[in-house]
């Protein structure tokens, strides 16, 4: 597998180099060509969380400035920070910090820390002014304060290199292709109590500039994008997550989005397969889940329904982690095109229900 990863990495680098050398006209821009700006999004909210027979409630706030620097005509340096406020205090996260070369007609080359093109939620829908509900589908963990739950995956970002290409198949259909190689995940802290039954260790997706092993994470996404409002994506990644380079973790996803007039339906199904050793045997834990969202806009109002489910996580037929479901019903009032006010109620199986109000703003 290491050889395959090396080959894929080499292929990606070659993709970068070949068009770069072909573009002999490329020039080094002067600083006079630079343009910088700050965009971003933020939100404030209030969440009531059901606790036994009472409700706990709390204010929430988050802001995510996006720094954009256009260097010449074809280089973009961009970074999104996320400032959140949690029980432990202020949290600062770098969602992405990347350099993009955009000088080619159909290719894009990205290096740095970037959002991985896995499915559609993490890369495109998660900003609070775009997400139509205050919370996330439980496949990505509930997040945003309140009672944070554990999903199948976090919103994935990692440090590495990515090449993307678009290819028009017909006037109405285009391919959206992405491939990347990154440092990859590592093994999380073993929180199992002594004497507890065997369980799979956590996979830590926390991004660092280091790699715990010599294996790189390799992944990609193939998308079919139609002019008529339909798009569908297949995504996958694979990596080793232990120091010994023996245990693999792999994810796959099928996602779609369909818009017709003011109606929109979108969703995503995903599975993460994780190898682990238990009692001297190699086992594979499979964690599947999905989310589905429907919305219909009536003027400035947009009712939203969302179902998401984590199925039982099983290793060789044995349930290792019970699944759970979530249903959410919400109403968005669009104060402006990038300023939604959201009211939503989450019905959470096995965790507490939540009532949420959120005012988000893109700027």
């Amino acid at each position: 597998m290491r050889k395959i990863n090396a080959l894929v990495a080499a292929a990606l680098m070659a993709l970068a180099v070949v068009p770069a050398t072909a573009d002999a006209q490329a020039r080094i821009p002067s600083r006079a060509d630079n343009v910088g700006m700050v965009a971003g999004f933020g939100s404030v909210g209030y969440t009531w969380t059901q606790s036994d027979s009472s409700w706990q409630n709390a204010f929430e706030a988050a802001i995510s400035p996006i720094f954009l620097f256009k260097i010449g005509d074809d280089l973009l340096v961009q970074s999104e920070l996320e400032l959140g406020f949690h029980d432990e205090g202020t949290e600062l996260m770098v969602e992405y910090a990347q350099v993009d070369y955009l000088g080619f007609e159909k290719w894009q080359l990205t290096a740095g820390k970037f959002l991985l093109p896995f499915g559609i939620f993490g890369e495109r829908i998660h900003p609070s002014w775009i997400n139509k509900l205050p919370g996330r589908p439980i496949t990505y963990g509930e997040g945003h304060g309140g009672e944070a739950g554990e999903g199948i995956l976090p919103i994935l970002s990692d440090v590495g290199f990515m090449a993307r290409r678009t290819a028009r198949l017909t006037p109405r259909w285009a391919l959206d292709l992405s491939a990347y190689v990154t440092n990859g995940p590592s093994m999380g802290m073993d929180m199992a109590m002594p004497g507890a039954p065997p369980s799979a260790p956590d996979v830590a997706y926390a991004t660092t500039n280091a790699d715990i092993n010599r294996n790189k994470m390799v992944g990609g996404r193939i998308g079919l994008v139609g002019v008529g409002g339909f798009e569908a994506y297949l995504s996958a990644y694979q990596a080793k997550y232990d120091k010994e380079n023996t245990l693999s973790v792999a994810g796959s996803s099928v996602a779609f989005d369909y818009r017709r007039g003011q109606f929109q339906v979108r969703g995503e199904g995903m599975t993460v397969s994780q190898q682990f050793d238990a009692a001297g045997m190699r086992a594979t834990l499979k964690s599947p889940g999905y989310w589905l969202q429907l919305s219909q806009r009536f003027g400035a109002y947009e009712p939203v329904l969302q179902w998401s489910q984590l199925m039982d996580a099983k290793a060789d037929g044995m349930v290792m982690k019970e699944g759970r479901e979530q249903a959410a019903v919400g109403l968005v009032y669009w104060l402006a095109t990038s300023v939604p006010v959201k009211l939503a109620y989450e019905f959470n199986q096995s965790t507490s229900d939540r009532l949420m109000v959120q005012w988000a703003f893109g700027f």
């Binding site: 343009v35 965009a39 955009l102 003011q262």
Partner: protein, 220 residues
């Protein structure tokens, strides 16, 4: 004296507001309007062109290209459309363009002087953010009437014919020009090329907000 007049004319011309080079860019701008509606709504609502300056649209264009994964020329067309339609064009320019055209895309047959019937006005209405509509959205016209679309909103609007009855052999462009400022109008003379029946139209960048309408032609 002659030198003075020439110098004065040159000076005056320099004082006039610079207008975009429209004719040669018309096709790219029209393409940009369509792409703007199709591409950006894949993730989020459309932002009003006037929300950003020309330079900011250049930067945002690169940023959005990394999200939408579209070609360089497609994003350039979108940015060009946004830069042209975010301009604060003086009112007298718009009123001078009585039968269309702040952006010279292929025009409809706009000959109000040849119409013999009534003028039926449809207003292009928006609040700049969430409401985009034609008002009234459904009208009836007779042959010989003039159908007048009047810009009353803040966002750029146009008229794109999406469905025509069988037998219609129109000599007007399917996509009309973009009207950029309040008071600008686009006239369609309902002449003999319009057979009886229902014609469906929409605003290219705002159709996803339901900015659609119909006009039904009957014999006049």
């Amino acid at each position: 004296m002659k030198t003075f007049i020439v110098a004065a004319l040159v000076g005056l011309s320099l004082m006039l507001p610079a207008l975009p080079a429209r004719a040669q860019d018309a096709a790219a701008i029209a393409k940009g309007a369509v792409l703007y509606g199709q591409t950006c709504t894949r993730c989020h609502n459309l932002t009003a062109p006037a929300d950003r300056t020309d330079l900011q649209w250049e930067v945002i264009g690169l940023h959005m290209r990394t999200k939408a994964n579209i070609t360089k020329s497609e994003m350039a067309a979108i940015v060009q459309y946004l830069q042209v339609t975010n301009r604060d064009i003086p009112a007298q320019v718009s009123h001078a363009a009585t039968s269309a055209s702040e952006v010279e895309v292929p025009r409809g047959r706009t000959m109000p002087q040849s119409a013999s019937g009534h003028v039926v006005t449809i207003k292009m209405v928006d609040n700049g953010s969430t409401i985009f509509k034609f008002e009234p959205k459904d009208v009836r016209v007779q042959r010989g009437d003039t159908l007048r679309f009047e810009q009353t909103g803040a966002a750029p609007h146009n008229v794109e014919l999406k469905h025509t009855p069988r037998g219609a052999n129109l000599h007007i462009a399917a996509m009309g020009p973009f009207l950029l400022v309040k008071g600008a109008t686009y006239d369609i003379v309902i002449d003999a090329t319009f057979v009886d029946g229902k014609y469906e139209f929409e605003c290219t960048p705002h159709q996803m907000f339901g900015m659609k309408g119909t006009f039904t032609v009957t014999g006049g």
